[in-house]
Symmetry: C2
Subunit: 637 residues, 2 copies
């Protein structure tokens, strides 16, 4: 039986060399590189080993970078005290141990068990010959091997029993690393108020450890103290799974990547006019008619699994049900007994007259059936996702679509209204108020607050905001340009704002036309990582008010944070990761750290951080030739 | 033991559902889609099954598309006769058989054995629940199952014993499909002059077969005759593996994708100033000093394996050794005995003065050691790759680099030359002549012709071409804009030209700056597939001469074809496939078929062809929402 197990293992555990590199060449002459890196003026300089001075230390690049410069390769930059020691301790991952977690809830202890497994797997993935099962061929260590004597002991203490990430959750942590006097033990302590802070601390810890390819072991810095917490509470990615379906394994890889840089909100734009992949238990007809195919459906199990998967990784899933526009396919089965259609303009042509892109579709705000169904969908969504934040969409309503629908025109005229734009905006507002009421009626736990999020729109605008949108009911997500007057207007009036200005944070821009032809899509050009990095919500507001007032808006949580958007007209699982990463890392540092320094100072860490994603099996795009990574600061303009 | 094997199989053969879709939902109510497609006016129209007229036929989309419209979903378009029957025959892949191949060489029979295995694997991959081992859960077929009675029999006849793809190789084929009178047998015949034509025929055959998800079987059209051959002989991709290393498995996937659309030349820009991953048996120091790391080296075995892998798939590997510029790292070990450096300006700063991007580096044309080493590298390359075509590079020589090198200045002045630009161009030409001589001396088989390829440059320009570049020695690859005067100049003067004009065929454009910042890299914007499609070398020449003359230039092989370029400053294995595909498919149709129709007519086939890549496990970028694929021609402008 032992032989059988061995055979099985041989067959299953095939080496999965990291994406961009190969195995070692057969010519062993080539195994040892002549190059080494030495830290000079906070920069790792590539040198021929033969040219090292007598007092100079040469190390593999990954090791040199760990503590060269004040922040090493920490990404995002911590916001509090950072001290990193100049020494190293070598160890094998089997000698890294977790002490029993101190936490006031069994759920958290269990969840941290998962987090520590993930952590250990990623340490193994630092080895270029790691195996698919999360192990790696590190030496088992003999008695005469001094590295085998070294032990890393991790102690975690979590103060509060919060199990869910909410807007007021404390994500801060304190990490300390200290080599003990016996020289063989490195003690690591992470203390945090919440699970979420503690897992962020573990993420930071992983960035203070590197693989040494010359010694075939791991190295950890000999000491460190890092106190850290985010500047912005809301740091997210919004992904659209309606234009193109994205499979659950691909979504999980996205969550993985977010967790590497402490992004904490996955805003799931799950449905749109194109398709309806959300499986509604109460109204399965929505999916039957609206899914692209029976295989392109998110089941309840899928989604519940996603919620827990994300939570373990410090990420909250914020669902969006966009309405009344951006709704179409899926709604066409409605009752035919003279009550009219629940949604109108579905797939209507010429699309240019009824919506912003094909296919059109918009809910019918005067149809009572629609409200019934909407309530059921809300109920189903709130049963699956946390119910303190819910995105109601609300963008790009096409008034002409409603105005071309007899039933809606008759509704207005029978009530003595004219068919002016204002009448339709008012009708839209009536829809929005009723939708919010239905949403709240359907939340799982009525004691809990439920805050809705809306996109900026004609309704959520300088013109209508104060009349129609209660700042206690809603958070507003802005998606036009950073200099749109609606931003200071909202902040001046005390509205909470999430930034997704398309001129910096829309990752779907720049890939050419998809209706018609030409090198541009609507928001071209492509947003380079430098532009993503520069886009500080605080500085944007400070530009039109004062720095003090902007700082206050951040501190008081009016500027909640931001999101990068991945609309999926021109992406699906095939290229999702490389379009989101590493640009989302630039977003992550902007929102976690909001440094006053610019992209240029971040570049070496940014490039190194990207390699961390590759090592962990993701497919982030490459920003520069590898030469620039090996020759820090030499790819300047 | 049988149980053990079964257990092993269970463990290893885990279902690998296609990239973008999931498994069927547990709610079986959702398993059957209400939607079906019916062919109207050469378009597959999505309809509710309940709304089908009494004479209308509904089919899954993939089946409908097989023979809706004259060309179904053939990609690239065949250039000769195309007739596709309106009926279908259902079958299971286990009932598809190859008759013994008729070929005048055992090598070809063996190679075709490989090609037919690949073909069968791809048929299995049409099944959404296919397994990683190339099988799929099709029914085994019972006696009462009428589908199990159907057999597809493939007969291949190859006339000539050519084993290597060369510029004069006939890639044409004739494919016929005929359902026999017994109704159970479909006979397929592919006749071709060469192996390469026959494998293209097999590729076309795979596009006349589709998976039917409602019947869980394959379907083939009941009859077809297709006569086909390419318009352009040279249809390629040039990939740079020096700026960033690309692993062999990733290169093989690129070759796979090329083969799906009959692209036939993989131009491997294997080295550059950044790194030297080519393992030279004679000069291993090049790799030792020049590789990014010991794991980023192409061994002889890797490269020989690649040559055969590509050949089976109808692709020739054309190696490039770029010189005298774009050479640097790897050359710095040279003898120190006063002979000077083999390469100069290596990693020199400020780079802007010595090269077009960091890091700089250029061969030293007055250093004799350099010529020795160059000869050895050529010899090593020619031993690995076919030796009838060799790309010598020759682009972007920086005369200032040479002019700032004492040894070179002294060389010129000691020979009575001034230090003018013309002196340096003349020196460059001296280098080029000597390099060509060395290359020819080092070819494996001296009876065979060896044609060199050069990029356009200051040397290969309207000013110098006639003086310096013999049209019998060289093919010229042009990379500036399509309206560059050098193009008609070369063609008017009888030079053979490969088109890679960057304004349409550079796939690295549009990703933002990588030195400095800003939304543009040097050749922004991004080149959309429509632009790739429109770029006909024939029409470009016809614009400045006459259509007749341009047609003649194509027919006589002066316009040899073209290549899309993937320079790798901002890409590595992580996003390579999605940046190359499906845009390379647009290139493939332009070069194989050169249709007079534009991208709009190709769009439905283009989008469907992209799905074929996904099905086969590649990661091509998505061009449109899936809704556009399901609703043909409705995503118009």
């Amino acid at each position: 039986m032992a032989r059988l197990l061995f055979l099985l293992k041989l067959l299953i555990v095939t080496a999965s060399v990291n994406a961009d590199v190969g195995e070692l060449p057969p010519d062993s002459y080539l195994h040892k590189s002549p190059w080494t890196w030495t830290c000079k003026d906070s920069t790792c300089v590539k040198m021929n080993k033969d040219d090292l001075g007598p007092t100079e230390d040469g190390n593999p690049l990954s090791v040199c970078k760990l503590n060269c410069g004040k922040h090493g390769v920490l990404f995002p930059l911590p916001t509090g005290k950072v001290e990193i020691g100049k020494g190293f301790v070598q160890f094998y991952p089997q000698n890294l141990k977790f002490a029993p977690v101190e936490a006031p809830a069994v759920t958290l202890v269990k969840r941290f068990g998962e987090a520590s497994k993930i952590f250990t797997t990623y340490l193994n993935k630092m080895h270029p010959d790691n195996n698919k099962d999360g192990t790696a061929p590190f030496p088992s260590g003999t008695e005469v091997d001094p590295i085998a004597k070294n032990v890393v002991l991790i102690h975690i203490a979590i103060a509060h029993p919060n199990t869910r990430l909410e807007l007021n959750t404390d994500e801060g942590y304190l990490l300390s690393i200290l080599q003990q006097d016996d020289k063989n033990t490195v003690s690591v302590t992470i203390t945090a108020n919440t699970y979420f802070g503690a897992r962020h601390g573990l993420e930071t810890l992983s960035q203070l450890i590197a693989y040494n390819d010359e010694m075939n072991c791991l190295q950890i810095v000999d000491q460190a103290i890092i106190r850290d917490k985010p500047v912005f509470k809301y740091r997210g990615i919004i992904l659209d799974t309606s234009r193109n379906f994205i499979s659950v394994p691909t979504l999980k890889r996205l969550i993985d990547g977010m967790s590497f840089n402490k992004l904490n909100m996955f805003h799931w734009h799950i449905t749109d006019s194109h398709s309806f992949p959300f499986y509604s238990k109460s109204v399965p007809l929505m999916t039957r008619y609206g899914a692209y195919s029976p295989r392109q459906i998110y089941t309840i199990e899928d989604m519940k699994d996603m919620v827990e998967y994300a939570r373990i990784r410090g990420v909250k899933i914020v669902p969006e049900f966009d309405a009344p526009a951006h709704a179409g396919n899926g709604w066409q089965w409605g009752p035919k007994e003279g009550k009219g259609d629940m949604a109108v303009c579905i797939n209507q042509e010429p699309w240019q007259k009824f919506c912003v892109e094909p296919p059109c579709g918009q809910l019918n705000p005067v149809n009572e059936n629609m409200y019934d169904i909407l309530g059921k969908i809300y109920l189903d969504m709130l049963e699956i996702f946390d119910n303190d934040l819910f995105h109601m969409g609300g963008d790009e309503v096409n008034l002409n679509c409603w105005n071309k629908t007899d039933e809606i025109r008759e509704f207005l005229t029978s009530r003595g209204k004219d068919l002016s734009q204002e009448s339709y905006v008012d009708l839209w507002n009536t829809f929005q108020e009723r939708a919010l009421k239905i949403l709240r009626e359907n939340r799982r736990d009525e004691r809990k607050n439920l805050t809705a999020i809306l996109w900026t729109s004609d309704l959520v605008s300088t013109k209508h905001l104060l009349d129609y949108v209660d700042k206690n009911d809603y958070i507003v997500q802005t998606w036009t340009t950073g200099n749109d007057a609606v931003i200071p207007f909202m902040l001046d009036n005390g509205y909470r704002v999430i930034f997704s200005n398309y001129d910096a944070w829309y990752f779907d821009c720049g890939y050419g036309a998809w209706v018609g032809e030409g090198p541009n899509n609507w928001c071209s050009p492509y947003k380079g990582w430098q532009q993503v990095y520069k886009n500080s919500p605080e500085f944007i507001y400070a530009n039109v008010t004062s720095l003090n007032k902007a700082k206050k808006a951040v501190a008081e949580g009016l500027i909640l944070g931001g999101e990068a958007a991945m609309w999926s007209e021109q992406v699906d699982g095939a290229a999702l990761e490389s379009k989101i990463f590493p640009r989302a890392s630039a977003l992550a540092e902007r929102l976690w750290s909001n440094p006053s320094s610019g992209w240029y100072a971040a570049e070496p860490r940014m490039v190194h951080n990207r390699q961390r994603f590759v090592e962990r099996g993701l497919s982030p795009d490459r920003l520069q030739p590898e030469w620039c990574h090996q020759n820090e600061n030499l790819c300047y303009l």
